[in-house]
């Protein structure tokens, strides 16, 4: 990896840490109800909604509330897309979105996936972009935050039946965390040149009047959507080209800030975890495990992309430039590879380069980051609760090795917790591998593949991995806006999201009810380097066991074929 790439990575991590620390303090204060001014503002809202903020819920009631909330979100987003032709703020007169695409998109945005089978600027009216998609960007991110806070309360409380009030938590996460951050970030982005208007598309005169006299520039409320798209690790672009579009990512500054904003809340939540359980070292340990995997992935992706494609070198292309196919010249290799790893380590899915055009092993890195379960920083909330599930598995494995009953943060880990952990960890690989098998066996699935052979297999594997792990980025070669893929991926997104959230909340409820054990000489320390390595090993091992055969059929074979041809 080149010197500037190392410097960029170091600057990125340092700035992230600097911002995440105070944000963690603020989030913890808000979610624990210590933001007094906010509570006064919330009070009339709770009264209006008939919510008693002092009433806390058991985990099942909390989970059902969350499911009702998100189910209504699916209906609202579906209806807005289907009725957009009749609704205002549609200056291009766009038709209603097709039923299968509307279904896919509704589930996609509610599950924080933001997989987009459609092109934003040619499909969605301004109203749909704002009222359906941007609103869900907030609410799906809030859903992730409240789930992880409920889980952390499960660790912190003892002999308790309740894990919080879902309506109060959702209100606080939205009003006092996501909205203020997005407002500030949207203003910064607009200041850097991201557009924000409600105009129809603008025809402009080009500088090449002979070959292409006019060009149409899409307009719309981009900055407001872009801010929460990154902060909420949603990833769904206003434009089809996402953050490779100059109106969605105009400068090197916006590129850096967008990368920073993806990891900001996931990193801050590690400190929230440490504060709520009363031992900041626990938060640092989880953050260290995430950072370790992340740095290795960045180095691997950057090195792969700094390598030239031998097929192009054979045609006389200078190999010194590395692999620039599918990348913005404005950003180059280092910023594209870093963005790709960040967006797939977190379940964001925004892209500033086309992952489909990465070198086979360069593309395998984002794919593997998704397949690890989006726990390396991960999505807002979902990254940390996923990592804590792996932490429980890690202490269980350690307990088996030394013959002691496993415990984590003073809570005994027993059969019920391990059943829930098993569901949470196995549901996504099941969806990915079964879904990929169905897609490559079924005729409508094979029809969407642009490139036959291992690359085509990678396209399908990537799509299912991205959907089930709620990432949303794509290997662009797959034509996925078909009834078959819209239905298949919608199922993967829904069950990949809530099939994990439900057992995580069940763990929260079970842990909250337990007594806290005293630390003894036999307690496994979970704040030191040994546990960090154990945690990284557990995440890596589960990922390898699940996905190595599939990766071997896709990017690994493609790599061998490409370099054998040399």
């Amino acid at each position: 990896m080149s010197g500037p790439a190392w410097m960029q990575l170091a600057a990125y991590l340092a700035t992230l840490l600097l911002l995440a620390w105070p944000l963690g303090r603020a989030i913890e204060a808000v979610m624990q109800g210590r933001f007094a001014w906010g509570r006064r503002v919330e009070a009339p809202l709770h009264r209006l909604a008939g919510v008693d903020p002092s009433h806390e819920q058991a985990w099942l009631s909390y989970a059902i509330g969350l499911l009702v909330f998100n189910g209504l979100g699916v209906l609202a987003v579906y209806a807005l897309q289907r009725l957009q032709a009749l609704l205002p703020l549609n200056p291009q007169g766009l038709a209603a979105v097709s039923p299968d695409s509307a279904f896919n998109t509704a589930i996609s945005f509610v599950t924080n996936t933001n997989w987009q089978g459609y092109g934003g600027e040619t499909t969605m009216s301004h109203l749909t972009q704002m009222l359906a998609l941007t609103v869900q960007n907030f609410l799906s991110a809030a859903t992730g935050i409240v789930v992880v806070v409920a889980l952390v309360r499960g660790f912190a409380r003892h002999s308790a039946q309740a894990i919080g009030n879902v309506w109060v938590d959702l209100t606080r996460a939205t009003l006092w965390i996501l909205l203020p951050l997005s407002l500030v970030f949207a203003l910064v982005l607009a200041g850097q040149g991201v557009i924000q208007n409600l105009k129809p598309d603008q025809p402009v005169q080009t500088l090449e009047p002979r070959s292409s006299p006019t060009q149409t520039l899409a307009m719309g409320p981009v900055a407001s959507q872009l801010a929460i798209k990154m902060i909420g690790t949603n990833g769904g672009g206003f434009f089809n080209a996402n953050s490779a579009h100059p109106y969605e990512n105009p400068t090197a500054v916006t590129n850096f800030l967008q990368m920073l904003s993806i990891f900001l809340i996931p990193a801050a939540l590690c400190f929230v975890f440490g504060r709520i359980v009363g031992d900041l070292r626990q938060g640092w340990a989880v953050l260290a495990a995430m950072t370790l995997v992340f740095v290795v992935a960045v180095v691997a992706a950057t090195m792969a992309e700094q390598q030239a494609n031998p097929a192009l070198v054979a045609l006389g292309v200078d190999p010194a430039g590395g692999n620039m196919e599918g990348k913005e010249v404005r950003f180059g290799i280092a910023a594209s590879a870093l963005f790709a790893v960040i967006t797939t380590a977190a379940s964001c899915g925004a892209v500033n380069a086309m992952h489909d055009s990465f070198m086979p092993l360069g593309g395998a890195v984002p794919l593997a980051m998704i397949q690890l379960g989006e726990v390396v920083f991960g999505g807002v909330g979902s990254g940390l609760y996923g990592m804590l599930v792996f932490a429980i598995l890690a202490v269980f494995i350690a307990g088996l090795m030394i013959g002691r009953t496993p415990e984590y943060l003073g809570k005994k880990i027993e059969a019920h917790e391990m059943k829930m952990v098993s569901i949470a960890i196995l549901v996504t690989p099941l969806l990915v591998l079964l879904g990929t098998a169905v897609a490559v066996l079924a005729e409508p699935g094979r029809a969407g593949i642009q490139d036959p052979g291992p690359h085509g297999f990678s396209e399908v594997l990537y799509a299912l991995s991205s959907a089930a792990n709620n990432n949303g980025s794509a290997f662009a070669g797959l034509s996925a806006n078909t009834p078959f893929y819209n239905a298949l991926l919608a199922a993967a997104m829904w069950f990949g999201r809530f099939g994990v959230i439900v057992p995580v909340l069940a763990i929260a409820g079970s842990l909250a009810a337990k007594k806290r054990l005293e630390v003894t000489g036999g307690t496994l320390p979970t704040h030191g380097p040994l546990f960090v390595l154990l945690l990284v090993g557990t995440v890596g091992l589960v990922g390898l066991l699940n996905y190595v055969p599939a990766l071997a059929l896709g990017p690994v074979v493609e790599h061998l074929m490409l370099f054998a041809a040399k």
């Binding site: 985990w59 099942l60 989970a63 059902i64 499911l67 189910g71 699916v74 209906l75 579906y78 289907r82 039923p99 299968d100 509307a102 279904f103 509704a106 589930i107 059969a415 019920h416 059943k419 829930m420 569901i423 239905a487 919608a490 199922a491 829904w494 069950f495 809530f498 099939g499 439900v502 057992p503 909340l505 069940a506 409820g509 079970s510």
Partner: protein, 33 residues
Amino acid sequence: MDIVYLLAAAAFWVAIAGLAIGCERLRTRRVAA
């Protein structure tokens, strides 16, 4: 076609609600045992 997709969404929702209830039953059965 709208009704087909709305029914599919309802089925998805019911399946996850069923998972939640199943998880709770597992927990209470453990306590009873």
